[in-house]
Symmetry: C2
Subunit: 394 residues, 2 copies
């Protein structure tokens, strides 16, 4: 048994934030009925990289889901949605706020059909407030949340995180909101709306930046790879490439000096405490840069790692596949997709002992489960299904 | 009532990942008993910024918790822990794996005391696999997960996210794992171990980078602020500063060209589809850069925003406080801390309709609730408490 076995999710979401959330729900055992537009389906079915005309992007985050096609503008399709809501536990959508209301499928309608429904919506700015209907994309939220202003090298322009981290954070917080609401429903018997905004998520992960400003009046800006208050916490260039070290306390720093055979640095009063090292980091970094350019990344990593100093090469994505820890943790799984063939997908980072998640099946083709879902869950017969197919409902 | 009202959490975690998780649990109604080392407490009590000797960093992520002091090396303190485990629902810790076993307080011991306990652990590499006992810090995981290799400007060195995003992701996934396990416990009656590793989390949020490599053989590297397959999705320099635009589809691009009064660009065959724009982005960006340097960020944002084009200034942290949407969403709250005074804290991004989270109380002083917890939960009397205080147990 998985944690969410028996939970049925009607998934109206598209592209990334919503589908990432329902991927997590699927990994932990929920039945996901993904509703897609007849003909084209989820926009991300067209996202590169592609193999044999199938998006590998789509295939990763839609594993373990069922796909049905429904044209939500058709009155018959709306009735199907309502019947599915009556037999579901959770609805997930990431339309622009107001879209579901325009379709006459807003939360007020759906909770009238099923008062126990958990209605989970991810959006740029949330379902309340003056900006609710503004358009948003990951890059816009990375800019608006302050995240970009504090990411980047010291002399560089504001920099986005490489991955669409705001979409993904929204997906994770939405999953967390749904499981919280599922637990609450066990206690209260009631469903509810779970409203997660990308902008809120962006601000919630700023760590100490906002505190730093409100406390000191200084506006935190880009400081590259170093830490604002722990030194040395920085990337350095070795003979061949860059690597990072993170001396989180005095002992680690002194130990590192010993390993580097630099008693002079260890005993230098300017570096005696973390506070002093942070204040005198420019001098310290000049000394360390000179030392580190003498050997290769591999040499430094093995020397420092053996001494227990937190050190790491800056890994490119191809090297991840060789990581023995990720293999041991089932984070890089092989999946057989009927069209793509054998592909690598990322596992779930939530490792549960007794009700563990896993990947139950590859991503569905468009509408692969339309008949199965309509027949088995709603008892709709073949003739109606073929009538709807002819008329653009499915 | 909040979602997690009635849930008691024994919180042995320190610094960021674990405390971020228990902050979320506290915001949603759980009772958090934070166990700290007598004398110094959680390391992050010493983290800047400080006001009146109190860490504002600590005060933000430890709001709503109770603090008790316990020296875990003392046999009496171990007995107190065991008695508290018997009366708790969840244990959270983020020690290096093996530490709890060395203290004779490992999961095997604790589940013997309370089979319904959910034992949630956050660590660098997880509680299994060959790297389990290696040291990790956020920067090390940003390097090892591939995240840094794909973050940064095109000609820049690999770049970390400004916030300690790996710690924070681990905290959020750990929260999600705990709520998942709480729900599962309602169904199975059983507690279990929830094991979340920073490295696993880092890989789980890479989005399409890993897929891109395994599919095409190309190693994704840094591409600055643009998108690998959607154009224009980029930052531009206006007369005074940088801003971003995100044209997620053809219509948005054509509309933008109209607003810019550049029919020539709109009708240019090189830019007719997203695929063509991505292939010809260098030419397109040269044209757009020339246009955008003509007006200020404020001018461009108001012109493009009015036309529904996703656009945003790159906000510095000080400007967040003026954001009307964040205010309307209760994401910037005022809290009165007994020492710090009035301070801004970030609200919860999980907005629940019926059992909403909120901030119940400021962060505790060190050991503020030791007597309350020992007396009320464990019925330990005053004389024992003062004996323990004298003897370094508390």
């Amino acid at each position: 048994m998985k944690s969410l076995t028996g939970i049925r999710v009607l998934d109206l979401s598209r592209v990334l934030a919503g589908p990432y959330c329902t991927m997590m729900l699927a990994d932990h055992g929920a039945e996901i009925i993904k509703v897609e537009l007849p003909g084209t389906g989820d926009d991300s079915r067209a996202f590169t990289p592609m193999i044999e005309g199938e998006s590998v992007y789509f295939a990763n985050i839609n594993r373990g889901k069922k796909s049905i096609t429904l044209n939500l503008k058709s009155p018959d399709a709306k009735e199907v949605i309502k019947k599915l809501v009556a037999k579901s536990d959770v609805v997930v959508e990431n339309f622009r706020p107001g879209t579901m209301e325009k379709l006459k499928l807003g939360y007020d309608v759906l909770k009238g059909i099923n008062p126990k429904i958990i209605y989970a919506c991810g959006s740029g700015y949330g379902h309340s407030g003056p900006w609710t209907s503004k358009p948003a994309y990951d890059l816009v939220i990375q800019a608006l949340s302050g995240f970009m202003s504090i990411t980047g090298q010291e002399n560089s322009i504001p920099t986005k995180a490489g991955p669409s981290i705001m979409d993904i954070l929204t997906g994770i917080f939405l999953y967390a909101g749904i499981t919280t609401a599922l637990y609450a429903r066990e206690k209260t018997g009631l469903g509810q709306k779970v409203d997660v905004a990308m902008l809120d998520c962006g601000v919630a992960v700023l760590e100490n930046a906002l505190m730093r400003y409100t406390t000191t009046g200084e506006v935190p800006l880009r400081i590259g790879n170093r830490h604002s208050s722990i030194t040395p916490f920085e990337s350095f260039k070795a003979k061949d490439d860059y690597f990072v070290i993170a001396c989180g306390n005095d002992n680690l720093f002194f130990k590192m000096c010993e390993v580097l055979e630099r008693e002079d640095i260890k005993n230098d009063r300017r570096f005696a405490t973390n506070e002093l090292r942070t204040r005198n980091q420019k001098v310290l970094f000049i000394l360390l840069r000179k030392i580190f350019e003498e050997k290769t990344v591999n040499e430094w990593v093995s020397i420092l790692d053996a001494a227990g100093i937190p050190v790491a090469p800056i890994i490119t994505v191809d090297k991840l596949l060789d990581n023995p820890q990720l293999k041991a943790r089932n984070m890089l799984l092989d999946m057989n997709h009927p069209v793509i063939g054998k592909m690598k997908i990322t596992g779930t980072p939530i490792k549960l002992e007794k009700t563990p998640g896993d990947i139950s099946s590859p991503a569905p083709s468009l509408g692969q489960h339309t008949e199965e879902v309509l027949k088995n869950i709603l008892n709709i017969d073949d003739s109606m299904i073929s009538y709807w197919k002819k008329n653009g409902v499915l």
